[in-house]
């Protein structure tokens, strides 16, 4: 049950690779609900129990169990799991909206668990912002007042906060609606207000708690693209909670999969698909179109002496789907080259196995 870090060759600019100081570093985080909850993480015996056993033994529910991860600056870090996996509790623990039971949460070198109430409020006001599944807007305030709410809480003057709010309203594409009331807007637009409210305070980290789960599929896609666009424009660090694998793959630089409060696997999208840690993850990613996620690195084979090595070259991080045409068009197998070094080759056979879905479970 130990969390598995996938063992694959390191690749492109992943955080571990570049190893900058993480923005958020979570170590051994526990959240247990119930009587005498704080005894559970420390107890060798209790902490090893499954959720159900723990419930029967102590009446406690372990929502988050011994979770550790780092989030690099500018990264989109996705936590994915089904309902009840503890992912929403986890994200609330980060700003102590839910008080963690054990572990440490280091944010920019400071353990958030040591912060007193005042410091915590300061952090929430200036460093973190959260976007909620059910928006959490104030129905009695106009859009622009909702967006300015965080600034108002901070004590910013009216003119200043209105100016900033209107800026952000425009950034999320809500111009023209600033004087509407939330219930006059569609769900997608309401979530744009939620997004604008989070951005208004210019936080270092944006936390998203299943922000698009309540939206229609089409609107959801729009909003996902919106997040990608905003990420390009403002470059914030984001922690994104979702239960939707395709959303996780689309947005996440790295993805942490949770089950019953524990980390099952943490890695990039192609790592999850290419090398699932266990059957649970394998089952999860079964229906993902592999060609969209896997890169050549995952399907190349070592060059044998018989292989002609004068074919075209491609990088190892090219997604299979994008390489398909090139590989199939080439007369000879494609060389996968990184920094001038030959890693392997990819021929029609390998490409077709992925695209036609013949390749068995990895």
């Amino acid at each position: 049950m130990t969390p598995t870090q996938t063992e694959v060759p390191p690749r492109r600019g992943t955080p571990e690779d570049a190893a900058p100081t993480p923005v958020i570093s979570v170590r051994g985080l526990w959240k247990v609900f119930g009587p005498k909850a704080d005894q559970v993480p420390d107890s060798e015996e209790l902490s090893g129990l499954t959720r159900r056993e723990l419930m029967d033994r102590t009446g406690c529910t372990a929502a988050v169990r011994d979770v550790s991860f780092d989030v690099a600056p500018g990264e989109v870090f996705v936590v994915m799991g089904l309902s009840g996996s503890g992912k929403s509790t986890l994200v609330r623990c980060l700003t102590r909206l839910i008080e963690p039971t054990a572990g440490e949460i280091v944010f920019e070198g400071e353990d958030i668990r040591d912060a007193d109430e005042k410091r915590l409020r300061e952090l929430r006001r200036s460093k973190f912002s959260m976007v909620f599944q059910h928006f959490g807007l104030l129905p009695h305030r106009r859009v622009v007042d909702n967006v300015a709410f965080g600034l108002e809480i901070r004590g910013l003057g009216r003119a200043e906060r209105m100016r900033r709010a209107l800026e952000v309203v425009e950034l999320v594409g809500l111009s023209g609606y600033e004087n509407s009331y939330p219930d006059q807007l569609s769900g997608g637009m309401q979530q744009r207000v939620g997004l604008a409210r989070a951005l208004a305070g210019d936080p270092d980290v944006l936390l998203f708690d299943e922000p698009f789960s309540a939206l229609d599929p089409l609107i959801r896609r729009d909003m996902q693209n919106e997040v990608i666009r905003l990420h390009h424009e403002v470059g914030k660090t984001m922690v994104f909670i979702t239960h939707d694998l395709s959303e996780a793959l689309k947005l996440g630089d790295r993805i942490l999969i949770m089950r019953d409060g524990r980390t099952v696997q943490c890695g990039t999208g192609d790592e999850l698909v290419g090398a699932p840690a266990d059957d649970y993850v394998r089952d999860f990613v079964k229906d993902v179109p592999r060609g969209d996620v896997l890169t050549l690195r995952w399907i190349m084979r070592p060059a044998t002496p018989e292989d002609p090595l004068d074919g075209p070259e491609l990088g190892p991080d090219v997604v299979v789907k994008e390489a398909t045409r090139a590989v199939l068009a080439a007369e000879k197998p494609v060389k996968v080259v990184e920094n001038g070094e030959l890693l392997g080759i990819v021929g029609d056979e390998e490409i077709l196995a992925v695209v036609a879905g013949q390749e068995g479970d990895a």
Binding site: L123, F132, H134
Partner: protein, 669 residues
Amino acid sequence: MTVAMEKPETSGEAKQAPPPPTAAPVRRISRSMVVGAILVVWLVLFAVLRGKQTLSLAAADLTDLHRWLNDVNDSIGANRNSNPLFLYFFNEIRLVIDNLVTFVQDLISQPSGDRPVPQIGWLGVVGLAGYVSWAVANWRVALLAVAGFTFLGLQGLWQESMDTLSLTLSAVLVALLFALPLGVWAGLSARANRIVTPFLDFMQTMPTFVYLAPLTLFFLIGGASATIATVIYAAPPAIRITAHAIRSVPATTVEAAASMGATRRQSLLKVLLPMSKRTVVMGVNQTIMAALAMVTIAALIDAPGLGKTVVQALQSLDVGTAFNAGLAIVVLAIVLDRVTTAASGRAEAARRSGNPLLKWRRQLLVAGGAVAAVLVYLSHTYLWAAEFPGDGGTGSTIAKAADNVTTWAQDHLSGLTNGFRDVITNGLLNPFQTLLTDSPWWLVGAALIGIAVVLGGWRAGITTAVCVGLLVATGVWSDGMTTLASTVVATVLVMLLGVVFGVWMGRSALVDRLLRPTLDAAQVMPPFVYLVPFLALFGATRFTAIVAAIVYAAPVAIKIIADGVRTVPATTVEAATSTGCNTWQIITKVQLPMARSALTLATNQGLIYVLSMVVVGGLVGAGALGYDVVAGFSQGQLYGKGLAAGLAIVLLGVMFDRITQAAARRTSN
């Protein structure tokens, strides 16, 4: 299912299958069979033991407890100004409340100081009423308020109405002073809520009536006691609704504020209170309506106002005068209700309408305020604007018309109404009452406890046993049984009406739209008012009280059942229809069973409402506990008995409430 699978080898699988599924129905049948058996045993023993150990007590007879209560009353009366508890606590409270009431009365109803008229005359009050209604709500209800208040004057009841209004406003002010902070507290803290809820439950379970007697013990009869009783009665809805409003603010929104670093104060002032404002104003509305109802009833302990006019007229069976004053209460109730209801929706409506006048609102408010001030000044200065002109001719016309209708009804409808009355009285009420009053007390008690255990479980049974024991101890057992009989009969009829109309309303949106306003209006009326028309139709009998109780309680039951039927998921009904159920089958097999918890809740509320009304019926010849209480107010030597009767009413109420609530919990599981 598992049973059948575990024993596949036994022969006759077809016969093997049924037992498990029938396990539940068998228990349910057995429950009603046990109730039936209890009733049969009761009837048999009744036939044998009839008239023995009935604990009956004649109207003028007293028990030791009653005499002891009389002594307590006397000694309190003697030591009122020497006992420190009274000197520094009760008397102080009375003084503050008295001053408040007198202050408001001096403003609008009673001659103040050396003036022969109040500080603000009718023109000023009408102007203020219109202005305030317009400011907090809209111009339509402002017109209604002006028209309503003017009508009160035309009825010749200006001063009485203003007395009632003064008491109501004072009580509402004091009630809200406590209720709003308490409500916010109970809304914020689960623990506070747990502490407050049982008290509120108890305060609301007790019939209005019974607050009065003990309060007079501490605060004497008059305005102060009336106001305090009203505060006690009117505060719970505001506390409850405020707490509910705070608690029903979506958790996400509160969390969002916290995630942005809002302090507790900020999230209370900027999120919780603004978002619950609308509901809180509905709570204020409930408090005002409850206060008005209580202020009229408090006439029994000598509170001034319209209630007093009604009580005096009822006691002398003067239907015309009672009707006129009752109508004034209704008008006052409608005005207060409409204005506060509109006020709760105002901000919303104004915001949405995008009315161009909105930006002029401040200027208009100032202008309106100036006009109102001028009217107040005029009414303060000139007699014509201070005393309502005319001699209340409209009032006597109304009274005369009501008298004529009464006479006509008695002449022409007496066959019908008396027939109806006699059928119910002889067919239902008398046998049941005889059964209750002529059985030995221990038999009735045992039967009640048995039924409570079967319907509500052991805890309900224990509560019932305690209540029965205490009922015997009050010494008014026999009267209590008479009241119990009337209450049960009325409740059965209420539930009949409730199921018929509730199902009808629940199934048809059209019927709902047509009936609901009437029901809402009926609930707004102070219970008192209901007695008047039925007194005209049925004369001063027990039956009048029962019919009034039915009319008073039915709207609540109908609404609860209608809502219960409506919350049955449409897909379930659709599924039943698709299997070929006809309408009757859908009602009896799907909608009513699924609305079962609504049915028990309706029974609970129906019983409580009926009980409070049956007791008020003591005024018009219902006798029993209600009469004991009323007589206790007016005759010194019966004071203790009245107090005991009030206690007996509370015991009956608690008993009903516990049994039906326990039954509701059982059915909903």
